[in-house]
């Protein structure tokens, strides 16, 4: 089953092309990594999928529900309630965590469950605690975001996204804001999720990690999905000088961490 299907997604910011007719299809249980140089449109693509950025033209369908179509070349978004329904099928983990400062760790994970999914407080807390266990932060349930390290905050934000049981998870450079020694704990959590066959799209600069967890890698460049293939195909690709140059420029020393 196809969880996410995007066709010819195009986006410009004040005339500058951010996404140039990008197509991507992600099957259930698949982990897709998006790599590429800065400014290549990786994050923008993810933000379009998460409805944080609206596209100019193209089609995005999530779990067979159309989010946006372009019958006449211009993007037409679905009605608000359907967009909300689709929103709940997607989960987003941000580079800068974006935990709610005024909520404790536990409240960060329960609040949306209670107010968005209308779960009972007891049920929400039960789910939150088991998720905190999973990211090994059960002892931080009553801490506040300012008391957490970057790595801990990012694990909480992953638990927060998971709590709403999304069909597909988006990771937008989840380790870029972290010290190298802290990114390992995040990569481990994401690896566990990949092993549980969760559907996910990960934008990352950690090449070794991308290679290890993903079923498929998309190399983006100048707003286009330039090359797509299995990790082996991407990392052993010799036909594209751009990809070679990009991979050679990346730091592989993160290999031993993840």
């Amino acid at each position: 089953m196809v969880v996410l299907d995007a066709k010819n997604v195009t986006k410009t910011f004040d005339g500058a092309i951010a996404l140039d007719s990008v197509s991507l299809s992600v099957a259930e249980g698949e982990a897709v990594a998006i790599i590429g140089p800065s400014g290549s449109g990786k994050s923008t693509l993810l933000r379009c999928f998460a409805q944080l950025v609206s596209i100019d033209s193209g089609e995005i369908t999530i779990c067979s529900k159309p989010m946006v179509t372009s019958p006449s070349g211009k993007a037409v978004y679905s009605p608000k309630d359907q967009l909300h329904e689709i929103q709940l099928m997607t989960g987003m983990v941000f580079q800068s965590f974006n935990l709610f400062s005024h909520f404790s760790v536990l409240e960060n994970i329960t609040n949306a469950q209670i107010h968005v999914l209308k779960r009972s407080k007891a049920e929400a807390e039960h789910i939150a605690i088991s998720l905190l266990d999973k990211v090994s932060l059960a002892d931080k349930a009553n801490a506040y975001p300012f008391q957490l390290s970057g790595g801990q905050a990012q694990r909480v934000s992953i638990a927060r996204a998971l709590a709403l049981s999304p069909k597909v998870l988006f990771f937008d450079e989840p380790t870029s804001a972290l010290d190298p020694e802290l990114s390992g704990e995040i990569l481990r959590v994401i690896k566990d999720l990949a092993q549980e066959s969760r559907t996910m799209i990960v934008v990352t600069h950690e090449m070794a990690f991308a290679r290890e967890i993903s079923d498929r890698i998309v190399f983006m460049e100048e707003g286009r999905a330039a090359i797509e293939g299995t990790p082996a195909q991407i990392f052993e690709n010799t036909s594209s000088p751009r990809l070679r140059r990009f991979l050679e420029g990346m730091d592989f020393s993160s290999n031993d961490k993840s």
Partner: protein, 262 residues
């Protein structure tokens, strides 16, 4: 025979002494009474003098507090509305609101009070009550200031909080009531404390349209008593009330001190 005689004398003396004591006592009591009456008289006169000043001043405090709390009750929600209007992407909404704020912040409140009170009778032959006019002027003036404080607070919340709320499926209303406004509250407490304390003192301006608030009562008392004592008392009252406001803000800040905005 001697003994009974002596005994008689002693008895006589005892009787006499008692009588004398009694009369002295009586004498003292009378003086005491007179002094007491005199003191009471002075006390009553002084109290009357001061009470005649205190009565209107206490009423004035009541008016002061009524203006203070009613202004807050209306101008805070209105200020929030104005803040959102000011942040609107549509110029047709944000521009008139900017002009309204410019007028409110750019002209003296004392003048606005007079316009709100006198203008309706010139323009529409309607005479608003002094108190209604007073509250209206304070509310529209303070809402303009509160709006700027709230706007700064709202715009100071990182974009990431909005994005996270959206990604988690909160509706816009939920996002603001559950995520944004609670954090804004913490942010705006110090500048709000400023405005609250200024408002408490600004209530004195309502004397210009004849509201019998504390300052009006004080001036009247000072004139009648030919004394600056009422002004001193009024100063102490304003100071005491603002000390309470300051303490309330300190408590609120401590209450919200359990987290830090990241």
């Amino acid at each position: 025979m001697f003994l009974p005689c002596a005994r008689n004398w002693r008895i006589t003396y005892a009787i006499l002494a008692t009588a004398e004591e009694k009369s002295i006592e009586l004498c003292y009591t009378t003086i005491q009474w007179q002094i007491a009456l005199l003191a009471q008289n002075i006390w009553r006169k002084t109290m009357q003098k001061y009470m005649s000043m205190a009565g209107p001043m206490i009423d004035g405090c009541g008016k002061l507090l009524a203006i203070f709390f009613l202004t807050l009750a209306f101008s805070l929600p209105l200020g929030l509305l104005v803040a959102f209007g000011r942040m609107s992407k549509h110029k047709i909404i944000s521009t008139p609101i900017r002009i309204y704020q410019l007028v409110m912040r750019g002209t003296p409140l004392i003048l606005q009070l007079m316009v709100v009170f006198y203008a309706p009778s010139f323009l529409f032959k309607i005479r608003p009550s002094r108190f209604t006019a007073c509250i209206t002027a304070f509310v529209i003036n303070y809402a303009a200031y509160f709006a700027e404080i709230l706007r700064a607070g709202i715009e100071g919340i990182p974009q990431g909080q909005h994005e996270a709320a959206k990604a988690l499926g909160y509706t816009t209303w939920q996002k603001y009531t559950l995520i944004i406004i609670p954090q804004v509250t913490k942010r705006v407490l110090p500048p709000m404390g400023n405005e609250f304390m200024t408002l408490l003192k600004d209530t004195a301006l309502s004397t210009t349209i004849g509201i019998a608030e504390l300052f009006r009562a004080t001036s009247n008392a000072a004139i009648r008593m030919v004394s600056v004592a009422p002004y001193l008392a009024a100063g102490l009252i304003y100071f005491a009330l603002n000390s309470i406001v300051e303490k309330a803000f300190q408590i609120a800040e401590n209450k919200l001190g359990y987290y830090k905005i990241l």
